[in-house]
């Protein structure tokens, strides 16, 4: 594991999912740099303002006003984005939807309901550069 305490950004409009990730990332895993956005208003400016820069960005797809694909496109304009893994975290995991995520250029996709038990290992694999498409429960 190259980064023991990675900085994480999670964009999610649904409060229960944010609460769940908070309990998991901050509570259970004790990560100090966890930021959550509940919408994508002024998305790029808010991301650029982050310190430290996120190592992993989890994006929900159905977010207002910019959806996950639009946020991904915005992130691509950032010069440092090549060091960051951008992973979809979504309940839209029908085959066609995952295909869209793949062709859009996401580094992976984690399905809801989240497999919490294996999450630390999965996160480590994501950080090591592996593309994870964990959509079959």
């Amino acid at each position: 594991m190259t980064n023991i305490q990675p900085a994480i950004l999670y964009v999610e409009d649904e409060p229960l999912s944010r609460k769940l990730m908070g309990m998991l990332l901050q509570g259970r895993m004790g990560l100090p740099h966890v930021v959550m956005f509940e919408d994508s208003e002024n998305f790029l400016e808010r991301v650029e303002a982050l310190t430290p820069r996120p190592d992993v960005i989890f994006l929900d797809i159905h977010v207002q006003p910019y959806d996950g694909f639009e946020m991904l496109d915005m992130l691509r304009t950032l010069p440092w984005i090549s060091d960051t893994r951008v992973v979809a975290l979504t309940a839209s995991v029908m085959n066609e939807e995952v295909q869209k995520l793949r062709s859009a250029g996401f580094h992976g996709c984690l399905a809801k309901p989240l497999d919490m038990t294996n999450f630390p290992e999965t996160l480590a694999r994501i950080l090591s550069g592996e593309r994870i498409w964990r959509v079959v429960s």
Partner: protein
């Protein structure tokens, strides 16, 4: 003309041409005969008369000659004797007879033709002058020797009759010669007219022939060109292409039939397009609905399962054994519900025929099998079951990685679910064009009559019904997914002897196209 049958349009000009040519031939033959007749008329009428007049003229001169000889004898009675005079008398009689014969012949010839009054007058003048000449000659012969006065009188009479006769004959001759020349001119003119007429008619015939040929071109080639152009347009996809041909002939009928066909094609194509668009619309609506339903069910399940897990795992404080057991059942039931949602969605997509594979090249089946084995070991979950593997290095293949994983997970989880003790053996082999994976278990086995049910949606065997859980959709979905890859999925089993599920997948399927 426009509505005549093509056959008639083609035959009619030729028939007219043939008739025209026949008429031309007939006309030329008739004209030829007419000219010949005219020529013959000239030759038969005028030439004999001219000859007869010449003859008459000659015999007239002889008569005058012999008359003068007799008168000379009277004037100059010399040594000649009665014998000599008798000879001259005989000569005179012969001359007279020849003259009479010539005159009769001339009159006969004249009587044979239907002459004009002026002509008849000339003939009568010749006849009268002739008679006078004859009378003068006879009078000269009747004079005896030694009577000088009467000789002079007879001589004067003979000379007068001679000049009158000569004048009459010359007049008649002149007229006949004129008629002859006129006749010749008439024949010549008629010939010239016939030549001109023949030339004009031939030229007319050629012109008519040319016009009819051009008309055939117009009647046949132009419509055929138009039809070909229309057919080409339709062939190139211009469904509104119609022939504008409206003639009543076979080509017009063909054009009308073609237009009906084009109409039918256009209508059918439009209907097909509309039906396809409709189907695509409803397919899109259905897909959107399924996607939305999946999303809406997964979101609360995320909270249900994971918040419960937090409680079970003690993140929120200690839980007793009974609480933990009940909460674990909440998690398991929720996960079952999730499987059910996944399977029902998959099945409805399969039954709608809208299952799309995300096809990739170079799929590593060995990696997929490693994941499947890991899941299998977790599913055995402490049961006395050994999971054996016998896996060769497999070639990279084409397919939908996620769906192939799903197929194999369905098979392995089925085996783990139904095997209480013994072993599960996963084998993987490959030939040139196919990978064959088998999962053999030591479970209860499936009765022959139940084997077909395994692959039927929403049907479960009696054995599996006894076992809690399962949607009964896993195997039908797995088989559909295998078939969508161009592969096969089947089982071999007997009650009490366990089951073996086989899945065969093509390595280079030609029906799969890389996304």
């Amino acid at each position: 003309m426009k509505n005549l049958s093509l056959r008639i349009k083609l035959i009619l000009p030729d028939a007219v041409n043939v008739l025209f040519t026949l008429a031309l031939i007939l006309l030329l033959v008739t004209a030829g005969f007419s000219v010949t007749r005219r020529f013959e008329a000239v030759v038969d009428t005028h030439l004999p008369i001219v000859t007869a007049l010449e003859q008459l003229k000659a015999t007239g001169a002889q008569i005058v000659g012999s008359g003068n000889a007799l008168l000379l004898d009277v004037v100059l009675p010399d040594a000649d004797d009665a014998e000599d005079t008798a000879l001259e008398e005989a000569q005179r009689a012969r001359t007279q007879s020849a003259y009479t014969e010539a005159l009769t012949h001339y009159l006969e010839l004249n009587a044979r033709r239907d002459d004009t009054p002026a002509g008849q007058a000339l003939t009568q003048a010749v006849e009268a002058a002739g008679e006078e000449l004859l009378a003068a000659a006879i009078a000269a012969a009747a004079i005896d020797e030694g009577a000088p006065d009467p000789i002079n009188a007879a001589r004067v009479q003979l000379e007068a009759a001679d000049s009158l006769f000569a004048a009459s004959v010359e007049a008649a001759l002149a007229r006949e010669r004129l008629l002859l020349i006129e006749g010749q001119n008439g024949v010549r003119n008629a010939s010239a007219r016939i030549s001109v007429l023949a030339a004009v008619m031939l030229a007319g015939g050629l012109f008519f022939g040319l016009i009819t040929r051009l008309n055939v071109g117009r009647t046949l080639l132009l419509p055929i060109d138009e039809l070909k152009h229309t057919v080409d347009r339709l062939r190139q996809g211009d469904l509104s292409a119609r022939s504008t041909l409206t003639t009543g002939d076979e080509l017009g009928q063909f054009a009308a039939t073609f237009n009906q066909m084009a109409e039918a094609i256009e209508t059918r194509t439009r209907e097909t397009d509309e039906a396809r668009a409709q189907a695509e619309r409803s397919d899109k609506v259905k897909s959107a609905f399924l996607a939305s339903m999946s999303h809406e069910l997964r979101t609360p399940l995320n909270a249900v399962i994971n918040f419960t897990r937090f409680v079970i795992d003690g993140d929120t404080g200690p839980v007793n054994e009974q609480q933990a057991e009940l909460l674990t059942q909440v998690v398991d039931s929720s996960k079952h519900l999730l499987t059910l949602i996944n399977d029902v969605l998959d099945m409805s997509k399969i039954e709608a025929g809208s299952l799309n594979l995300f096809v990739e090249d170079n799929i590593n089946l060995n990696v997929i099998l490693d994941n499947v084995i890991t899941t299998g070991r977790a599913l055995i979950n402490g049961k006395p079951v050994r999971l054996n593997t016998d896996i060769n290095a497999l070639p990279l293949m084409i397919g939908d990685q996620q769906r192939i994983t799903q197929i194999l997970l369905n098979i392995i989880s089925n085996a783990c679910k139904f095997t209480e003790e013994g072993e599960i053996t996963l084998r993987a082999r490959h030939s040139d064009d196919e990978v064959l994976i088998s999962v053999r278990d030591t479970g209860p086995g499936i009765a022959p009559e139940d084997q077909a049910l395994v692959f039927e949606a929403f049907r479960q065997t009696r054995t599996s019904l006894r076992q809690a859980g399962g949607t009964g959709l896993g195997m039908p979905i797995a088989r559909s997914l295998a078939e969508a890859h161009g592969g096969r999925l089947w089982l071999e089993s007997a009650p009490g002897e366990g089951s073996t599920f086989y899945v065969a997948l093509p390595i280079h399927s030609k029906t799969l196209v890389v996304a």
